[in-house]
């Protein structure tokens, strides 16, 4: 932690999932713009490293709290912490999210609860809390990180795609409800090289993977530019937007069957190699 939080005209951004690939890119992009930061994620040490690095790089003020957003009490601890700092974030980036790949029948109750609590419940409750503490002098910018998966029913990634679909749907609805008080921008990216595993997954898709994927910092910049411009949905990459429009011509059940075949083959291939 360092100098006092921003006041006046600069933004104060709350970023969840801040030490993960895209969360980190969002935190870096906010810091590059000179905005002060409130960061949260699970790992205290990683938060400390990022917070220190961004303060050194950009001279901003960065505060952090390690907490598990899947737990109600932990979320309350986050809100109490914001109160204690007298912090009223002007931008909320709901980045924290989980993906679980594989057959639904192989999941257990804990996994189902965790993914829904993080991808859906935490994002909504964070949004509600910030709306409630907003004093109305500054219009709150909310960025919800969804996925291109939000547009499809995805066998073997069913809970993830459905949770992202929920986030897309509610973002579009709240945008209309909150027009005067807040702007909501929902990001629907394709693959991003955020971790060695995601890089592997992108490379495994060959040329298509490389063409549809974008560097995380470019996506973060585009997302924040979109939020400032009041854009509702940001889909990075012209090819991704084109493919999405084309896919609208295919019936939903047919798309689900095609995606199911693709993921089943990928999982079988990976099991074979394991």
């Amino acid at each position: 932690m360092n100098k006092a939080l921003s006041s006046g005209t600069s933004e104060l951004a709350l970023v969840t999932g801040a030490t993960g690939g895209f969360g980190k890119a969002m935190a870096v992009e906010c810091a590059r713009r000179g905005w002060d930061l409130l960061l949260t994620d699970l790992d205290q040490r990683m938060l400390q490293l990022l917070s220190t690095g961004l303060s050194r790089s950009f001279g901003i003020s960065s505060h952090f709290l390690a907490c598990d957003l899947t737990r109600t009490k932990e979320r309350q601890r986050l809100y109490d912490w914001l109160h204690s700092l007298h912090a009223r974030p002007t931008l909320l980036a709901n980045v924290a999210g989980l993906d679980r790949e594989g057959a639904f029948i192989d999941r257990d109750g804990g996994e189902i609860r965790t993914i829904l609590r993080l991808n859906v419940e935490a994002a909504l409750e964070n949004t509600l809390f910030l709306l409630q503490i907003s004093d109305g002098t500054r219009r709150l910018k909310i960025i919800n990180v969804s996925s291109l998966a939000a547009y499809y029913a995805m066998p073997y990634k069913a809970m993830y795609a459905a949770s992202k679909g929920f986030l897309l749907s509610i973002s579009l609805a709240l945008k209309e409800e909150l027009r005067q008080r807040a702007s909501i921008t929902v990001l629907c990216p394709a693959g991003m090289p955020t971790t060695p595993l995601s890089v592997e997954a992108i490379e495994a898709q060959g040329l298509m993977g490389r063409l549809t994927s974008r560097n995380t910092n470019d996506v973060a910049r585009q997302t924040i530019d979109g939020a400032i411009a009041g854009k509702t949905v940001v889909i990075p990459g012209m090819l991704n937007r084109m493919l999405l429009h084309l896919s609208a011509l295919v019936p939903t059940s047919r798309k689900a069957a095609l995606i199911g075949m693709r993921w089943a083959a990928a999982i079988a291939k990976r099991t074979e190699h394991a």
């Binding site: 992009e29 490293l49 790089s57 090289p193 995380t216």
Partner: protein, 292 residues
């Protein structure tokens, strides 16, 4: 090399591993740094069966963060003070990386800049006091001919806009030369420590195959298979000689290729540019290194 203590970063593969092997065989006490514990064990095991007159010690460290570099320096010092004679003769900054995608470290720094430049900068700073104590210390940073003509974007050193794998790599290698030139200026011709850059030339290593894909990977594969590409043991032998040999090059000729001292890119000798990079590196590492 008998009785000399040498630190080699990136010592588990490529040129670094060959440097470790040559130095240990010639009687040096080598402390090598690697990221992967298993690979470090494998190197120790291989050296234990080889005909070595010296000794080898492993330090497992992640050089992508400044805390990782500091912890690495502390581990090295523990070894130097404990098992060895309390003196360190040479630091060889060899570890480097390449990445097709723009990846950031835990501190939010661009990976190639962090590993290829900030890590050597900070490790040199941390080990400088003990290198001075030896009376004839060396800091050898493994550079690359790709630094010639490389642009240095100090206003966007992490390449947040228009990232290019090759440009980021070349910039980091230019930074190695700029850092060495500035370090030499700050040492004011002090005889206790000398700083050089070793250009290994075109070498058959896997450095460009680990974090790359697509066109970049193809370019590195072709590069590796070129007939003119040297096996890593050739530059390794030169670097090992630089670790202890007596050289007295002209002030600007600290850039060695095949043990021949030459001048690097003239732009890397610019004192103002060197001062600016030094000051930026200090800020990013959270230190005030001052005069070396």
């Amino acid at each position: 090399m008998n009785g000399k203590t040498v630190v080699v970063t990136g010592g588990t593969s490529g040129i670094g591993w060959e440097v470790v092997r040559v130095l240990a065989a010639d009687g040096a006490d080598v402390i090598f740094v690697g990221r992967n514990q298993e690979k470090c064990r494998a190197v120790l095991s291989e050296l234990s069966t080889a005909d070595c007159r010296g000794s080898a010690h492993a330090v497992v460290a992640d050089l992508s963060t400044t805390t990782g570099v500091r912890s690495c320096a502390a581990d090295i010092m523990r070894l130097v003070d404990g098992k060895l004679d309390g003196l360190l003769d040479t630091l060889i900054n060899n570890a480097a990386t390449v990445s097709s995608w723009r990846v950031t470290t835990a501190e939010g720094y661009e990976l190639q800049f962090a590993v290829n430049h900030l890590a050597p900068f900070l490790l040199s700073h941390e080990l400088l006091p003990v290198l001075r104590k030896s009376g004839n210390g060396r800091i050898i940073t493994v550079g690359s001919g790709s630094h010639f003509g490389a642009p240095m974007r100090l206003d966007d050193v992490m390449m947040m806009s228009k990232y290019s794998c090759l440009r980021a790599y070349r910039q980091s290698k230019f930074a190695n030369v700029l850092f060495t030139a500035e370090l030499r200026r700050r040492l004011h011709g002090e005889q206790g420590v000398r700083a050089y850059v070793a250009d290994p030339g075109l070498v058959c290593t896997d450095i460009g195959l680990k974090g790359t894909a697509g066109l970049e990977k193809l370019v590195w594969q072709i590069r590796k298979r070129l007939r003119s590409a040297l096996p890593p043991e050739v530059p390794a032998r030169c670097i090992a000689t630089m670790a202890t040999g007596d050289f007295n090059p002209a002030p600007d000729q600290f850039y060695f290729r095949n043990l021949v001292a030459t001048a690097p890119d003239r732009a890397a000798l610019d004192p103002e540019l060197g001062r600016q990079l030094w000051s930026l590196s200090e800020r990013l590492c959270g230190i005030v290194a001052g005069d070396g």
